[in-house]
Every structure is written in structure tokens, then in C-alpha cells.
Amino acid sequence: MIRLIEVTKNFADFSLKNISLEISPGEYFVVLGPSGAGKTLLLELLAGLLEPDKGRVEGIKPEKVALIYQDYMLFPHLNVQENIGYGLKLRKIPPQEQRAKLKKIATELEIEHLLQRAVTTLSGGEKQRVAIARALILQPEILLLDEPTAALDHRVRRQIQHLFARLHRQYQQTFIHVTHDFEEALALGERIALLFKGEIIQVGSPQDIFRSPASKEAANFLGYKNVFSGRISNHYFEINGVSILTTVKEAERAHCVLNSNEIIISRRKFSSSARNSFRGQIKEIFPRLATTEVVVDIGVDLAVDITPQSFQEMQLKIGDEVYVTFKTTSVKVYEY
């Protein structure tokens, strides 16, 4: 078990405050947060490159950790083969064994044809594979990944994500992957920690995190479109003359977050157990790849995501009068 116990660290322009985390062996753990949150600093602490100012890091042997930085950090004065073999050479592994290991990992990562190339001539995806090979050849127990796909284009990013998923299944190592991309976190993480401004604000399964973000910032960051601030009295959240029923009785100051996927749009009033139903007018329509976003003005602008099929069937246009309906439990309330 890897444990961070109340770890605090200030370094250059970044800081981590009182971080406590437990990560199980073999887990794919994702740290999700915007840039500047201190994600790289966290990895450098885990790798033993830095010492915490306060607190402790337990359960990690630096020699069993490999860190892969965002820009791959291939050694520019060495070719691909020399890069991958760097750690073996340091360990004075016999040359024959080095070659065998090198061949195996190069085949695994489909980079045999690159071995003699200068690293400056590689594409982003190739560089990433070389960096992974250089780390995996040493059979680390823990792999630390710093924004491993941030510099890649969409297609290659998917390939590398699939590669990580496969490697994790295959080698059963602990992966600790930091990213600012919540889709990547959702796709890969068994558990996710949200890191904001140097603090862990939530840890949980992807479902937990995305269904109930722990704060307004988290909701905004996770791409929630409906985030409102106001006050709740007698269960009603009041905003611009709209009264939204919530599960919270009273709150002087609260943020309400409404998942755009959990709102139903209809031409006629929708009869259901859902207690929140409002009449409004369609203000904007944004077609996207998997969903169509319809912005309905019910006194405040409410973003609703529906499938392109439903959108077609309902033949919605800007200016149409529609009803929007959602459950009381779909309204997440964060008091502050």
C-alpha cells in the first residue's frame, strides 16, 4: 500500500497542502486536476526526487518507481536503443541480457524499427512509446505518468490510452497517472483523486466523482454546464425567479449543480415523479459528436444534452417552447 500522510510541499511556484492518499498495489489511480494544481510535484514526491516539507510518503521504494514526464524526456544525446537501455547499463546487466530485454520490450511496444534512430526524429507517439519502454524494461512496481497524452493528437492519444490499459492488465503494476483530461481519467482510472490548487478535494470511483462532484469547482472542471449559486429556503433554491426543489432544507449560500444528461426535454408537460418541471424557450442549439446541447431559457439558461436521434425526432428549433424536467436528487447542492 502506498500512503501519503498529511504531505505538504512548496516548490518553485507550486504547492501541495496536507495531502493524504492511499493507493493499493496494482491499482490504476488517476489524479485529475487543472494545470498548476501541483500534479507533477505530487509525482516527484512519490518518485523520491523531492522530500516533503511536512508529512510522510510510505510504501514506495525509489528504485522500484519509474516516472514518465509529459514531454517524455528522452535523452537527446542518445539514440532510441541507448535511451531504452540506459537503466540496464547503469545496473551493469551483461550485454547479452541487455539485448534480449531490449528486443522483448521493443517488440512489445512495436518500436523495433526505431531502435537506431535519433530521438529528435521521432513523432510524439513514438517518443511516448520509447519513454514507456525505457521505464518498463526495468520492471518497476510503480509507474508514474505525468500527463502522458497531453502533447499528442487525438488519434495517437487514443492509441496510447489503449496501450496503458493493456499494459496495466498485462503487468499488474501500480499506475499513478496524472491528467487534466477528465475523459482520460474516466477511461482509465479505477479510482480518481481530484487535485485543485494543491489540495485533494475528492477521491472515489469514476462514477462517484462524475455523479457527485464534491464542489462547485470540481463540477465546473468536470464539464458540468449548469452550475448556479444562490440561497435555499424551505427546500427551494431561488434564482432569477425560478424555484428549484432540492434535497437540502436551508442554506444561506449554496451552489447547485445540475448534470445536463439528467434533464429531460419535452414538447408537452412531462408527467413523472420528477418534481422539477419548467416551461422555457430554446435559446441555442449546439450539435456535438455524441450529443446535441440544447440551451433552454427558463429564467436562467439551462443546458440539456440529448442524443442526436431524439433531437431529430422532436424537430427542435431555436425559439420553440418546451418543458424541462429533472429529479430533485439530480440537483447536487454544495453549501459554502
Binding site: 516527484e44 518518485a47 526526487l49 525509489p62 528504485e63 518507481v65 519509474a66 516516472l67 514518465i68 514526464y69 514531454d71 524526456m73 535523452f75 537527446p76 544525446h77 540506459y86 537503466g87 547503469l90 545496473r91 535519433a118 529528435t120 525505457r134 521505464a135 526495468l138 508514474l144
Partner: protein, 256 residues
């Protein structure tokens, strides 16, 4: 095109400003006379002494200055600006002042002379120390810039791959900063060769080329000083060009 022509012309004037006296001096000295002075033992030994002492100074600066440069590039600490300014100081002060300052600590009965047992005044050691003092900023600053350009994450990566901090320095930072260190070394060596002010105060004898030229000028005038000056100039120019070519060829190989 006109823009480039104007800049080219302005630059050409400056090049002329440097080239004209040089060419004039070589012309004045004449091939025969220069050949003549190469045969004079005192001229030869002065030139060799100059090249050698400056080389010692550069090697000393490599041994102590590369660690210093790495330290300054990687570590932030209070008073760093003061240290960096101190390193730059020899560039700013008149070198005669530097010579006097050195004489105060390395003079016959001074502190460091007694502590180390080195005889500095009037020896090759003194010449080396004078050259080291005034020209080390070129090497230290060059190396420091070189290390600064090496992403610290490259060394961190080496460390997570099993390198000790020293191994990370030796196998990653040093090879990547090599070119800057070599350039700095060449600049330092060249600067050492040209040194006069500090050397003349610490060691008038044995005579370096610059002191010999000064002596001949003082005692016998232009006629005697010019061929030696021209010779030193040509030797220095050849050495610098050869070293630059070697360094550039090294760099070109790396980029293949």
C-alpha cells in the same frame, strides 16, 4: 533586401575597424621579420609560456568551475546574486587592480602563500593564477548557461531509472552541456593568452608574450614590438579557429 544591405554595411564597418589594425600590423611586421623573431629564444619561450599558463588556468577552472556552474544553474539560495556578481567582477575591474588584489593575498609573505607554500610572485604559478582570476567568468558563465539549458527533468528521469545524482550529472547534464563548456573553455583560454594587467603585476618575469611586447615597446619602440605582437596574433588566431572547427564538427556529428 535593402534592409539587409544596410545592416550588412553597418556590420562591415565594425569588422573593418577590427581587421584594419590587425592587417596593418601583420603588414608592418612583414613575413621575414616575423620569421626572424620566431627564432629568438625569448620570443619562443614567451609564447609557449603564455599558451601553457593559460591552458593550466583553463584546466583549473574546468576542475573547480564546472561544479560551481552546475551548482549555480541548479540550486537557488540566498545570496546567489552576490556570488554571481563576484564571478563577473574580474570582467568589470581594471586588471591591474585585479593584479594588486591578488598580490595582497599571494605576495611573498601573504596569507595564502604561507598556507599553501606556493611561490607565486615571479613564477609560472603566478601567471596561471592571474590568468585564472581574470578569465574564469568566461568558462563559469558559459558552463552555467549550458547547464541551465538542460531540462532538470532529464536528470530526474535518469534518477528514476536508477542513476545517482552524480551519475545523472555525468551521463546526462554534462554531455548535454558539453558544447557550452567547451566554448567557454576556448573563450577563457583565449582571454588568458591576451592577459597583461594582472600578469605584469604578479609576474613581470618569466615574461609572457604580452609582457614581452610591452617591454620591447617601452625599451625599443614600435620597430621591435610589432613583429612579436603580430606573431602572437597569428598564433592565437590559428589556435582559436582550429578549436572552433573541432567544437562545431562535434556538434554537427551529434545532430546527424
Amino acid at each position: 533586401m535593402r534592409f539587409r544591405a544596410i545592416f550588412g554595411f553597418l556590420g562591415f564597418l565594425l569588422v573593418l575597424f577590427v581587421a584594419l589594425p590587425v592587417l596593418r600590423m601583420v603588414w608592418e611586421a612583414g613575413g621575414g621579420q616575423m620569421l626572424e623573431v620566431t627564432k629568438a629564444p625569448e620570443v619562443r619561450s614567451a609564447i609557449f609560456l603564455t599558451l601553457r599558463a593559460s591552458l593550466w588556468a583553463t584546466l583549473l577552472a574546468l576542475f573547480f568551475g564546472v561544479p560551481l556552474a552546475y551548482f549555480l544553474a541548479r540550486v537557488d539560495f540566498k545570496g546567489k546574486k552576490v556570488i554571481e556578481s563576484l564571478i563577473d567582477l574580474p570582467v568589470v575591474i581594471p586588471h591591474t587592480a585585479a593584479g594588486i588584489a591578488l598580490l595582497l593575498v599571494w605576495g611573498r609573505h601573504s596569507l595564502l602563500t604561507r598556507a599553501t607554500g606556493l611561490t607565486v610572485v615571479g613564477t609560472e604559478v603566478g601567471i596561471t593564477l592571474a590568468m585564472l582570476f581574470v578569465s574564469l567568468p568566461f568558462l563559469v558563465n558559459g558552463a552555467k548557461e549550458g547547464f541551465r539549458l538542460v531540462d532538470v527533468r532529464l536528470e530526474n528521469t535518469a534518477r528514476t531509472l536508477g542513476a545517482s545524482p552524480f551519475q545523472a550529472f555525468w551521463t546526462v547534464a554534462l554531455p548535454l552541456a558539453k558544447k557550452s563548456i567547451l566554448s567557454g573553455s576556448i573563450m577563457m583560454w583565449a582571454r588568458g593568452i591576451s592577459e597583461f594587467g594582472a600578469v605584469v603585476i604578479l609576474a613581470y618575469h618569466p615574461m609572457t608574450a604580452s609582457v614581452l611586447i610591452f617591454e620591447r615597446f617601452q625599451n625599443f619602440g614600435l620597430q621591435e614590438a610589432t613583429p612579436v605582437a603580430a606573431l602572437l596574433l597569428i598564433v592565437s588566431l590559428v589556435v582559436i579557429i582550429v578549436l572552433r572547427v573541432i567544437v562545431d564538427r562535434n556538434r554537427a556529428k551529434k545532430n546527424d
